[in-house]
């Protein structure tokens, strides 16, 4: 086993209580070249046709917030700075927006975090299981459809995953070296993770659970207090900025709503969606490795299992399920799979290489298909942009009068009209009941009256929202008919050889 990592920390840290002798560094071009290839492939998958489809709803919101922070005159009136989540990613993005707002530019920042995650996964794999495991883990993550898809989008989950891996890297270093400085580093990075998306507190629970479960990894009360203090001080940037901006209620309203809202997916959601996204082979290897290598079980596997199971358990219980929410746990699965591959003894010497090739191929093919999607009118939320949403938004920007309020079917299209069309847009499907709606959204109190009084001059129907809310689609088209709607513009997609309208912009008048 140790022949791949004879110079890795694994060899010097069999007794978890021992002080680690850090290996001397020697320049080894092989792994570096392999990492360069891995990163090149990862970059290719993440930037290929990056701007082919415009932003989706969440991406538009985060990019809009960043534009507001950057002082964009138009978007700042359409996207308030404070909305639902902390603003670390948006703040970093806003710096790039000082030179101009760009949807592809925003996605490149996500890609950057994705590539950074692959590097840190390599480092963590190297520390836990040796260099080869690190390289295998990095290569799996580089081509994993789940990570590829999410880190191509302007979402918080990609950066959150980066900070999550970095946090566990620091925890692993603490376990290996028993230096409290690494624990404090982990606490600091965890603070940044919370500032990226508040749900990162789950990772804190995972770390705590790990320390509670592993008595062989001792942490003093003082270390815990100092670490917790560091996390709190750093994460305090979020409430402090809300407080000094007079928007302290914003975060509270959103948390309350998330706690008591109706579930948006069934309990089977992750069971159905995740295996294909993570890769069945990765799951099988991770679980199989845990079973077949159970005699080698150490704190490392406990750490990785806590990292996977806490978020999984939390989001199963939490009423809100998002495609991308489990991404921070994916690197742990990758590391477990890499462990299985590199630590299992194979009778045929080339079997390991063949297995690695098969696993990578099984991931790379769906990833490639995912970045070259067939035209569809109904994408899964969070898994890609809305078809033709950007083009419709830009048409609106170029052709509709300034100040023309737009009624859309759902909030997704409303966000796109705001971001690309620079027009105020409100969604028909947003409930007027404050208990039933995302506090970030403004409802239309009386759509009929507002149309009659000229409050809305334009109505946008889109196939994506219509497939999700057929009731409101019917209602919207009823208004279009009642208020003499004239189709001004239609976006069509060629779906299975048939030109299918996916977005229609109507002009209405009382």
């Amino acid at each position: 086993m140790t022949r791949f990592g004879s110079r890795s920390p694994v060899a010097v840290e069999e007794d978890s209580t021992a002080t680690v002798a850090v290996p001397r560094k020697q320049f080894r071009p092989g792994p570096i070249l392999v990492m360069i290839v891995i990163l090149a492939v990862a970059t290719g998958l993440r930037v290929w046709a990056l701007g082919a489809i415009g932003l989706n709803s969440d991406e538009a919101v985060y990019a809009g917030q960043a534009a507001s922070l950057a002082g964009d005159d138009t978007l700042s009136s359409l996207f308030p700075i404070f909305r639902a989540h902390p603003l670390l990613f948006q703040t970093v993005l806003s710096v790039g927006f000082l030179g101009g707002v760009s949807d592809v530019g925003a996605r490149l920042l996500s890609v950057g975090f994705g590539l950074g995650t692959i590097i840190v996964v390599y480092l963590l794999g190297f520390r836990l299981y040796g260099r080869k495991a690190g390289l295998v883990a990095a290569s799996i993550l580089a081509v994993m459809p789940y990570h590829v898809i999410v880190t191509r989008q302007v979402l918080l989950d990609g950066p959150l995953t980066f900070f999550a891996v970095l946090t566990f890297y620091c925890v692993a270093r603490f376990c290996l070296e028993r230096s409290a400085r690494w624990l404090y580093s982990a606490a600091a990075v965890l603070g940044l993770a919370v500032l990226t998306k508040e749900i990162a507190v789950i990772l804190l629970l995972a770390v705590v659970a790990f320390f509670l479960l592993r008595h062989d990894v001792r942490v003093s009360a003082r270390q815990i207090l100092v670490g917790a203090g560091i996390t709190l001080v750093i994460a305090a940037a979020y409430p402090v900025s809300l407080l000094f901006s007079g928007r302290i209620g914003t975060g509270q309203n959103y948390l309350l709503w998330q706690l008591f809202r109706r579930p948006n997916h069934s309990l089977a959601f992750y069971g159905v969606e995740m295996p294909a996204a993570v890769g069945p082979a990765v799951l099988v290897l991770a679980v199989g490795g845990l079973w077949f290598l159970r005699r080698q079980h150490s704190w490392r596997e406990t750490l990785l299992l806590c990292w996977v199971l806490l978020p999984l358990g939390f989001f199963e219980v939490w009423p809100v399920k998002g495609y991308q929410y489990l991404l921070p746990a994916a690197p742990a699965l990758v590391l477990l799979a890499a462990r299985a591959i590199t630590r299992t003894s194979f009778s045929w010497r080339h079997l390991r290489t063949a297995l690695i090739a098969v696993v990578l191929l099984s991931l790379a093919v769906p990833s490639w298909l995912a970045v070259n999607p067939a035209p569809s009118a109904t994408y899964l939320a969070g898994s890609g942009g809305v078809p033709a949403g950007r083009e419709a938004g830009r048409w609106i920007k170029d052709n509709l009068p300034l100040g023309g309020n737009v009624m859309t079917l759902g909030p997704t299209m409303a966000n796109l009209v705001r971001f690309y069309g620079n027009r105020k847009a409100y969604a028909l499907s947003v409930s007027t009941n404050p208990l039933r709606r995302n506090p970030s959204y403004e409802p239309i109190d009386n759509p009929d009256r507002q149309l009659r009084e000229g409050g809305f001059s334009y109505v946008v129907w889109d196939a994506y929202s219509a497939s999700r809310t057929p009731f409101f689609s019917e209602q919207l088209m009823g208004y279009v008919e009642k208020y003499h709607g004239i189709a001004l513009h239609t976006e069509t997609l060629n779906i299975s050889g048939v030109s299918t309208p996916v977005i229609i912009v109507y002009e209405v008048r009382p």
Binding site: Y184, L402, G403
Partner: protein, 424 residues
């Protein structure tokens, strides 16, 4: 044959109603729509508008000009959603309010006649007139727009179309009508330029509109079918916009949507919003202008003493707003103008001869336009007054907070590495 076809073609092009104004204007404005609303002073609508010559801070209108007691006066107050009953705005009232230019008889003018007079000091603000104030924010507001005559709806409307006083110099219509006094529409007709007079809820057989539509007191505009066909119901405005038949010059008067007290001002705003929104959504936006003004001060307080230009005027200031692709954005125009400036604009823009001495000497509204810049894109304004969205210091707070967090985290991560290296 060819000659016949050419002649026929020229005849068709020369027909009123055909949009051939194209190269005939001195400015990019090829369509000018002017709406005359009723009875409000400038201060009653825009007296508190920032940047305009509005209500003086310390004004308190005395009950009596003989006793300028500080405790017996009426301060300007916001009317809000109230619509006061119609205030007296006859000549005697105007003279008493004017008080030889002292502008301190606004309340006394009513109290002398046993009326309360408090409402003369009432005004509306942006919360009550959101759409008009939004226009002022985005386009042009005139704060030196005077009614042409001291008083009298008929007289002021007459100035609006003919640039001269009525033959009687007052509200009376001579038995034979206004005779052959030329109007701006005659000038337009002579040049073959299309025009229309839109009347809200127009009844060609009714006589009620004659005050607001002075043309109905001219025999020729009543009896000549071609001329009479130019006076139409306001519903044709939308049809003309969509059909591409908006005339070069269009006058508009209201009835049901009149803002004449005690009518609700919201109805007038709604009508103006519909008309300007339709204009913005039409093919005419980039070569048109929409002017809204009022036919008199309606008895409401205004603090600016009108200049005396002749025995008939000026009267008190009235509100006036200009909306066009060439309007100066958020501009308060201080040029001294009156209804004859509308005529002057039409005359200068379409190279027509003046109708009288007043319009010949008048400013032509060009100061409110910026013809050196390309046309502004069309804009639909809110019917509500949106607070100005300001991120205030939020961005600074966010940058400082998160920069501190990043710095603190970097310190925690980098220090162990640095210490470790040093120990080596």
């Amino acid at each position: 044959m060819i000659r016949c076809l050419l002649v026929a073609g020229l005849l068709v092009l020369g027909q009123p109603g055909t949009a051939v104004a194209g190269q005939q204007t001195t400015t990019p404005i090829e369509h000018f729509v002017v709406m005359m609303q009723s009875n409000h002073s400038f201060d009653s609508y825009f007296g508190t508008y920032p940047g305009a010559d509005g209500i003086p801070a310390d004004v308190c209108m005395p009950h009596s000009t003989d006793n300028l007691s500080a405790d017996r006066c009426v301060k300007p107050f916001r009317l809000g959603d109230q619509s006061p009953s119609d205030l007296d705005h006859r000549p005697a009232t105007q003279r008493a309010q004017y008080n030889d230019g002292k502008m301190n008889g606004f309340v006394e003018a009513f109290r002398k006649n046993g009326r309360d007079g408090t409402n003369t000091m009432g005004y509306y603000d942006g919360a009550d007139l959101p759409y008009y104030w939004n226009i002022a924010d985005r386009f042009t507001l005139f704060d030196k727009f005077f009614s042409s005559a001291l008083t009298g709806s008929r007289l002021n409307h007459f100035y609006w179309v003919a640039g001269v006083p009525t033959p009687t110099g007052g509200e009376e219509v001579p038995p034979g009508g206004y005779g052959d006094i030329p109007t701006i529409f005659d000038r337009l007709r002579e040049r073959g330029l299309p025009w229309k007079f839109y009347v809200e809820h127009y009844d060609p057989k009714g006589a009620g509109e004659a005050t607001k539509v002075p043309l109905l007191n001219f025999q020729r505009f009543r009896n000549d079918p071609e001329l009479a066909s130019r006076i139409v119901d306001l519903s044709e405005y939308d049809r003309d916009l969509s059909a591409g038949t908006l005339p070069a010059v269009a006058y508009v008067v209201t009835s049901g949507s009149s803002e004449n007290p005690p009518s609700r001002i919201q109805a007038g705003q709604s009508l103006v919003r519909n008309m300007t929104s339709e204009l913005a959504r039409s093919r005419y936006w980039s070569n048109s202008a929409f002017l809204l003004t009022y036919d008199g001060w309606g008895g409401f307080y205004d603090h600016v003493a009108p200049p005396k230009v002749d025995e008939h005027g000026y009267g008190f200031r009235v509100p006036a707003l200009l909306m066009s692709a060439y309007s100066r954005r958020g501009h308060v125009d201080h040029t001294q103008v009156d209804y004859t400036s509308v005529l002057k604009f039409v005359e200068d823009n379409w190279k027509l001869a003046p109708l009288g001495s007043r319009d010949a000497a008048s400013a032509n509204l060009f100061s409110a336009f910026d013809f050196t810049s390309p046309p502004r894109p069309p804009e639909l304004l809110d019917i509500t007054r949106q607070p100005v969205v300001s991120t205030g210091r939020a961005w600074l707070v966010v940058y400082l907070s998160y920069a501190f967090a990043l710095l603190a985290a970097a310190t925690c991560v980098v220090v162990p590495i640095a210490v470790r290296r040093r120990n080596r």
